[in-house]
């Protein structure tokens, strides 16, 4: 009967007597247990081992315990107890050190939580690193990302070896529910292999099928787990049941597992991304679309190999494209890139900048704590020297210091976690949840682990640095140097000055960076969006195809809402547009200028296009440059008129007026009667963001010439816009009780939201640099204050010999200013590097950096001056008699 090796090891833990008495029997029992477990399967075996290992070690320990005398406390333990006592005896020092560390670690953890949740943590799908996004780009036509078309999808799937599966998705909204109790839901339209690509099959039911991807055959839906739980009471028999979506009965075919979220999507229902046969034709390959492609790399394939295969495949396809030359001229390419990286691209620079700033803050904090230690070490130098003289080993002294720094950093990290919890809330207030994956920012296990690692690392770095310094300076001189009561050891003083200079330099880098970010934000906030955003209510309505099939029905909806809203008190002007500035949609299209075919090599430039009705321009207060606005009643084919913005006009007709000129919708000229006559030129607006450079150009067509089921309502109000939301909702429901209005909010709020990637770094940067300044002020005060205390006697002698207090004061202020100058000189090169990094990552920063730099320099100087003024004045007030008598 042989038990396993591991069991023998466990047995060996028991005292010999116990083993002699029961060892054989224990083996027998374990063998029997193992046989029984094996019969039950692997889980039982694992459970048995877990139980046995835990039980046997515990039993062995308890069995041995009484045989031994009570354990003596560890040497380290006395160190720790001594340290705790000493820290408790100097609460000022302890609190300052823990507080500083807590602030700095907390700041780092906060940013780390964001960096980890957004940039580092893999997407929540199996093999998430194999997911790639493929998008069409036409850089020379000013369209950097045009998603992927339905044709792209049907052409590529199964034909690119490096892609195991290809799928397409599009975000959308739908009206769900019965008449009278409809709700607007975010939905996502997806191709059949979408969930296979992600590697997350439905928990109930099935995925979509190919035969459900055509208009008319697409009345199926897959629910997310929260929606299923909320709306269907988590009923397992829900598959096969019908719900109403956009007025149609739709059959539920599947339910997704709990916790499924796709990137930052808020969709709770998935529908087929259906299309018609003509959408799939190769001629529609480049018809810009709002759909996006996600694919899973085949085993062994890389993004690079997939890229070269897609390039090769596209090249063969384009050969038969009559417009191939134009497409190639636009710089067309389908880019294959990691889905995660692409999704968080916009947030990456800001996050990295913030993490760097937090790291700088931590350095400043560490320097400050190191400084505190040095100051205190000065007063303990004799104690240490005595300890060494009577035979304490270096390792023992280092151990004591390490115990102290580790204890402090552990406490700091624990408090830092609390700070970080507040910090994450603060980030949320700043709008971090609107960053990609931003709603998932949390302090999780990894962050805790990072805190623990930081605590250990900080404790070690601080401890070793301080121990090294103390051991060197206590090598015999301390006893003498201090008893003489003269100036502090040169080395110690120099170390303190070097620390202060580092601190000033780092703070200056932080401060100038924050000043640059803040002035950038300020400049953006002052940027005119091209219209007046105050008191402007905006909302979106999607008219379902079922009930608005004809242009006439769309027109009549628009007419009715105009008429009814016009009579609401508080509405000064009201308009409708198919897109509004800062809506988040930046889809562009082409316009062709009549009589001006593209010259060889010239590319069609994409421009924003809007279809408007009502008093859109008046409501938005977009200024008129020349001509006239589109009238509220320009309806029907007779009125083929349009308005262009100044950017478009100056590019299309650089010499002469745009008025009376003609253009065609789309990339090619049509029949003469299809041309639109330009009747007015208006000011340019910012469509994508306030930081958007000018020049994309825009064309405004009458809504009656370009019907669209998705429309925005804009109302210029004479009262607070939010006060009118209820009226708007009531009127829309009055016209169509099944129609919800979406995203009703004031334009200022939209602008505020659009600034999130600029605002968070600026605000956080200012917070960080304020803390850094405070620490630097404390550092200056500490270093100079200590210098004054150490040189009391010298100062006393000098005053006794006739030095004027002003001279003494100047001497110390002079020291402070010299340190400041050295720190700033060092900091300047740092801030130059920081500025370059900032500019490469964050858009919309102002050109010159002298202003922010000057502000940073003067604030820095003021803070340092304040920090050294107090000790300098104290020095000047030293009474010679007292100073000399004290020694």
């Amino acid at each position: 009967m042989k038990a396993s090796m591991l069991f023998e090891v466990l047995l060996a833990l028991f005292p010999r007597g116990f083993r002699d008495a029961f060892g054989d029997e224990m083996r027998t029992v374990f063998e029997a247990q193992r046989r029984a477990a094996r019969a039950q399967g692997l889980r039982a075996v694992i459970a048995l081992w877990a139980r046995t290992i835990a039980g046997m070690t515990g039993a062995a320990w308890r069995e041995r315990r009484p045989a031994r005398p009570p354990r003596r406390p560890l040497v380290e333990w006395t160190d720790v107890r001594y340290t705790v006592r000493r820290l408790a005896a100097t609460p000022g020092f302890t609190l300052a050190a823990i507080g500083t560390l807590a602030l700095c670690i907390g700041a780092n953890l906060t940013i780390f939580a964001a960096v980890h949740s957004i940039l580092l943590r893999p997407l929540p799908f199996p093999g998430a690193d194999r997911l790639v996004t493929i998008y069409n780009t036409y850089p020379r036509a000013n369209v950097p990302d045009d998603g992927a078309s339905v044709a792209n999808y049907y052409e590529r799937r199964g034909r690119v070896a490096a892609l195991q599966s290809v799928s397409l998705y599009r975000t959308d909204a739908a009206i769900v529910g019965q008449t009278g109790s409809t709700e607007r839901e975010f939905v996502m339209r997806v191709s059949p292999e979408f969930f296979t690509t992600l590697g997350v099959p439905p928990m109930l039911g099935r995925e979509f099928r190919d035969d459900e991807m055509t208009f008319g055959d697409d009345r199926v839906a897959i629910l997310t787990e929260p929606y299923w739980r909320q709306q269907h009471g988590a009923d397992p028999a829900v598959v096969g049941r019908a719900i109403r979506i956009n007025g149609n009965p739709v059959r539920i075919v599947g339910v997704l597992p709990a916790g499924f979220t796709f990137l930052s999507s808020r969709a709770r229902i998935f529908l087929p991304l259906s299309s018609g046969p003509d959408d799939r034709e190769s001629s529609r390959r480049h018809s810009g679309s709002s759909s996006r492609m996600i694919a899973r790399l085949a085993p062994g394939a890389t993004a690079a190999s997939a890229q070269s295969q897609v390039d090769a495949y596209d090249a063969t396809l384009e050969r038969s494209n009559p417009q191939a030359a134009m497409i190639a001229g636009a710089g067309y390419r389908s880019v294959v890139v990691s889905t995660h990286a692409r999704h968080v691209e916009s947030a990456r620079p800001a996050l990295l900048v913030l993490q760097a700033a937090a790291a700088a803050l931590l350095l400043i904090g560490l320097v400050n704590v190191g400084n505190l230690f040095l100051v205190r070490a000065g007063s303990r130098a004799r104690e240490l020297a005595v300890r060494r003289a009577i035979g304490a080993r270096a390792s023992h002294i280092a151990g004591a210091v390490l115990a102290e720094t580790l204890l402090l950093s552990a406490a700091g990290a624990a408090a830092g976690l609390a700070v970080a919890a507040g910090g994450v809330t603060f980030l949320g207030r700043l709008g971090a949840s609107r960053l990609p994956l931003g709603s998932q920012i949390s302090i999780d296990g990894t962050a805790m682990l990072a805190a623990a690692a930081a605590a250990v690392a900080i404790g070690l770095v601080l401890g070793l640095g301080i121990a090294a310094h103390q051991l060197r300076s206590s090598a015999g001189t301390a006893l003498r140097a201090d008893t003489r009561g003269g100036t502090a050891g040169r080395r110690t003083q120099r170390a303190r000055y070097a620390i202060l200079v580092t601190q000033i330099a780092l703070s200056f880098v932080l401060l100038s960076g924050a000043a640059l970010l803040a002035s950038g934000l300020q400049a953006l906030q002052r940027t005119s969006p091209g219209f007046q955003p105050e008191r402007l209510l905006t909302a979106q309505v999607s008219l379902p195809w079922m009930r608005y099939q004809t242009d006439a029905s769309l027109q009549s909806f628009v007419d009715r809402i105009r008429a009814e809203l016009g009579s609401v008190p508080g509405v000064a002007a009201f308009g409708i547009a198919t897109n509004i500035p800062l809506s988040g949609s930046t889809i562009k299209s082409a316009a062709t200028i009549a009589g001006r075919p593209l010259r060889p090599g010239e590319l069609p430039r994409a421009n924003y296009s809007y279809a408007v009705a009502g008093d859109y321009f008046t409501a938005m207060r977009i200024p008129l440059v020349e001509g006239r606005y589109l009238g509220p009643d320009e309806i029907g084919a007779a009125a083929r008129v349009c308005v262009v913005d100044a950017d478009f006009a100056s590019r299309a007709w650089p010499s002469g007026s745009a008025l009376g000129q003609r253009l065609f919708l789309g990339g090619t000229a049509g029949r003469p009667e299809e041309a639109f006559v330009v009747v007015g030129v208006v000011g340019a607006v910012k469509q994508a963001a306030l930081s958007e450079p000018d020049g994309a150009g825009a064309v405004y067509y009458p809504y009656s010439d370009r019907f669209d089921r998705s429309i925005y309502l804009v109302a210029r109000t004479t009262v607070a816009p939010d006060a009118l939301v209820a009226d708007l909702r009531r009127i829309v429901r009055g016209i169509d009780p099944e129609l919800p209005i979406n995203n009703a909010r004031a334009m200022d709020a939209r602008i505020d939201d659009s600034l999130v990637t600029q605002r968070s770094p600026a605000v956080v940067g200012v917070v960080f640099s304020t803390v850094a300044l405070l620490l630097t002020a404390l550092g200056t005060y500490g270093v100079l204050g200590y210098a004054v205390a150490q040189r009391r006697r010298e100062i006393g002698v000098r005053i006794a010999l006739g030095a004027r207090p002003a001279q003494v004061r100047q001497q110390f202020v002079g020291v402070g200013m010299r340190l400041l100058a050295a720190g700033m000189a060092l900091g300047l090169s740092g801030s130059w590097a920081a500025e370059r990094a900032l500019r490469s990552g964050i858009q919309g920063l102002p050109q010159g950096s002298l202003g922010p730099m000057a502000i940073a320099a003067s604030v820095m100087a003021a803070v340092c001056l304040a920090g050294c003024l107090v000790p300098a004045r104290r020095a000047a007030r030293i009474s010679p008699i007292e100073a000399l008598a004290r020694e």
Binding site: E25, V29, M56, A59
Partner: protein
Amino acid sequence: MPDPRDHLPLKPVDLELLLALADDDMHGYGLVQAIAAHTNGLVQLDPGNLYRVVKRLLAEGLVAEAGQRSAPDEGGERRRYYRITPLGGRVLTAELERLRLLVNAPGARALARRWTS
């Protein structure tokens, strides 16, 4: 004669073990199985803890060795059996009586009614 009450209250595992031996003499693995069965699998003893208890009960004289016998199963392997001593029996009885009084106390019954309804 030693007073069984000196041994009270029994530890839960000791009680389980004595209860098992009250039925029949058993070897080590038999005890593990009996205790697991009696506690619905809640108490699964590993050999180490089992024999710590056995050692203690032997030392206190509540349990004694009952010689080696070949087990009916497992190919006739010889195993050491344990039996409950007369003192062990009295201690067990006293403990069960103590528990009975405890469970039947009016307060305990009221409590049980309150929390089970």
